[in-house]
């Protein structure tokens, strides 16, 4: 079960890369066709962007996420209890000890990052550490270590990077289309097919949205699995249940969280005051659903 999950995640990462790469290249084709009636250079330009952007994001994502969220590394001497909790669960999960980070923020939340378990880090907000008891903190740390062991972070990082590329190219393309005059070379090859033209236009608009949907669906799915893994480590669903209740009851957003990093947190760090969020647009399943599944364990 466990090894299948990890293998499945690695397979999924691979297929996502292929799927998104095709999507990105198709987008390049569409924009090339729309802007200059020159699909080949459109595809070439997107290929170059893809080849550079994705590996660079993949390599630097962890440090970027930690920096963007204002996390500071802490030692055992500075935060003995928190450090020990992570140490205990790393032992239970047979994982190397990840680095422990603290974010100065009163809103309780946490996330894990790192492409490989050897380079992983877990970050907790100061609000989480002060509001949760040891049992609840154990539940949260176990959830984060679950993400690390299941290689969810690799999958999510690749997803975020690829959706980033799609958004970037789509934005770039639509700017060229609307502000650059567009189709300057009409005369050179004026027989553009109107149906293809409309299709390409629709594609440029739809592609970023579709990419977001895929990313969010993957993200929600991984949360359930990490909850289950956390219980496998702690053998105690109550800790995580109480932690999720406390985290979702807190009315404050995490200051340094952004839309790009929101999916990494244990519970949605943004939009806490907007109650009615459509579930298709959510990075996480609803807390009620997660607690219901935990209670069934």
């Amino acid at each position: 079960m466990l090894f299948q999950q990890i293998a499945q995640n690695k397979r999924r990462t691979f297929f996502l890369v292929i799927l998104f790469s095709v999507l990105v290249l198709a987008l390049g084709w569409a924009i090339g066709y729309l802007v200059n009636n020159d699909s080949v250079s459109g595809v070439l330009i997107t290929l170059v962007i893809l080849v550079f952007y994705v590996p660079i994001t993949y390599m630097t994502a962890s440090s970027q996420v930690l920096r963007m969220s204002g996390a500071q590394e802490v030692t055992e001497a500075e935060e003995p209890e928190l450090y020990h909790i992570v140490e205990e669960l790393a032992l239970a999960a047979r994982l190397p000890m990840p680095k422990v980070y603290l974010i100065q923020d009163p809103s309780p939340n946490a996330f894990a990052t790192g492409i490989k378990p050897e380079k992983a880090a877990v970050a907790f907000t100061t609000g989480l550490v002060s509001k949760l008891n040891r049992e609840e903190l154990e539940g949260v740390a176990a959830h984060e270590l679950g993400h690390i062991r299941n290689y969810d972070i690799r999958l999510m990082t690749v997803c975020i990077a690829l959706v980033g590329v799609i958004t970037l190219i789509a934005e770039f393309g639509s700017r060229m289309l609307f502000f650059g005059g567009g189709r300057r070379n009409n005369d050179r090859n004026g027989r553009a097919n109107p149906i293809l033209l409309i299709l390409a236009l629709v594609f440029v608009i739809v592609a970023p949205i579709a990419g977001q949907f895929v990313r969010l669906a993957v993200s929600r799915n991984r949360e359930y699995l990490a909850d289950a893994t956390a219980v496998e480590f702690t053998r105690n669903p109550q800790g995580l249940i109480h932690a999720l209740e406390k985290i979702s009851a807190d009315p404050h957003d995490v200051q340094e969280a952004t839309n790009a990093t929101a999916a990494m947190y244990i519970s949605p760090p943004l939009g806490k005051n907007r109650r009615s969020r459509a579930s298709l647009w959510a990075t996480h399943p609803s807390t009620a659903d997660r607690i219901a599944r935990l209670e069934a364990m």
């Binding site: 003995p80 032992l91 239970a92 047979r94 480590f233 053998r235």
Partner: protein, 182 residues
């Protein structure tokens, strides 16, 4: 020509199977050793921490000599004897430590002592680590035994002397989630 290819293919598949099963048995055996050494490290750490705790508590709670003696006596069992005996000694100590931490409620000075608080945190994390390492150890042993006894890996296990291992049995009451009945 074709029969030869088939024969070679069958031999190759057999060899690959033998190598893969053997390696996975070896991996599990090493994991068992590794998870035991995690328990071992934590038990030794507890053995080292207990004198500090006793010395700290002694200064504040002179009337609790009996509990302290019990801890000191059980302490040596942490680093001697079979794995099962050591785990049982740790379980006894755990009970005695609980009462020491509980009696700190009656001694406000002790409860405010930084050293005592630090030792309390250290001892509880080592206790949790023993529990988690034991959980991991038992899980690994169970997986190993299943692998060892399943056909056809059991043929290899017999040939290369992969012996059956025992799990560490201890009342796990403190780890179990309470069952609530209405």
């Amino acid at each position: 020509m074709l029969p030869w290819i088939i024969v070679i293919a069958v031999i190759a598949i057999l060899v690959i199977f033998v190598i893969a099963s053997y390696n996975s048995l070896v991996k599990y055996r090493n994991w068992i050793g590794e998870s035991w050494s995690q328990i071992d490290v934590q038990l030794k750490r507890r053995h080292d921490l207990i004198p500090n705790l006793v010395n700290t508590v002694k200064g504040y709670a002179k009337h609790e000599q009996e509990t302290l003696d019990k801890v000191i006596q059980a302490r040596n069992q942490l680093v001697q004897g079979s794995p099962q005996e050591r785990i049982e000694a740790d379980n006894q100590i755990q009970g005695a430590l609980k009462s020491i931490f509980a009696l700190s409620e009656a001694y406000p000075d002790l409860k405010a002592n930084q050293n005592f608080l630090k030792l309390q945190e250290e001892l509880s994390t080592t206790e949790n680590k023993v529990a988690y390492a034991r959980q991991l150890y038992n899980k690994t042993v169970a997986d190993y035994n299943i692998k060892r006894e399943s056909f056809p890996t059991n043929i290899l296990a017999g040939m290369f002397n992969f012996t059956k291992r025992d799990t560490l049995t201890i009342p796990e009451a403190e780890r179990e989630a309470p069952t609530v009945t209405f």
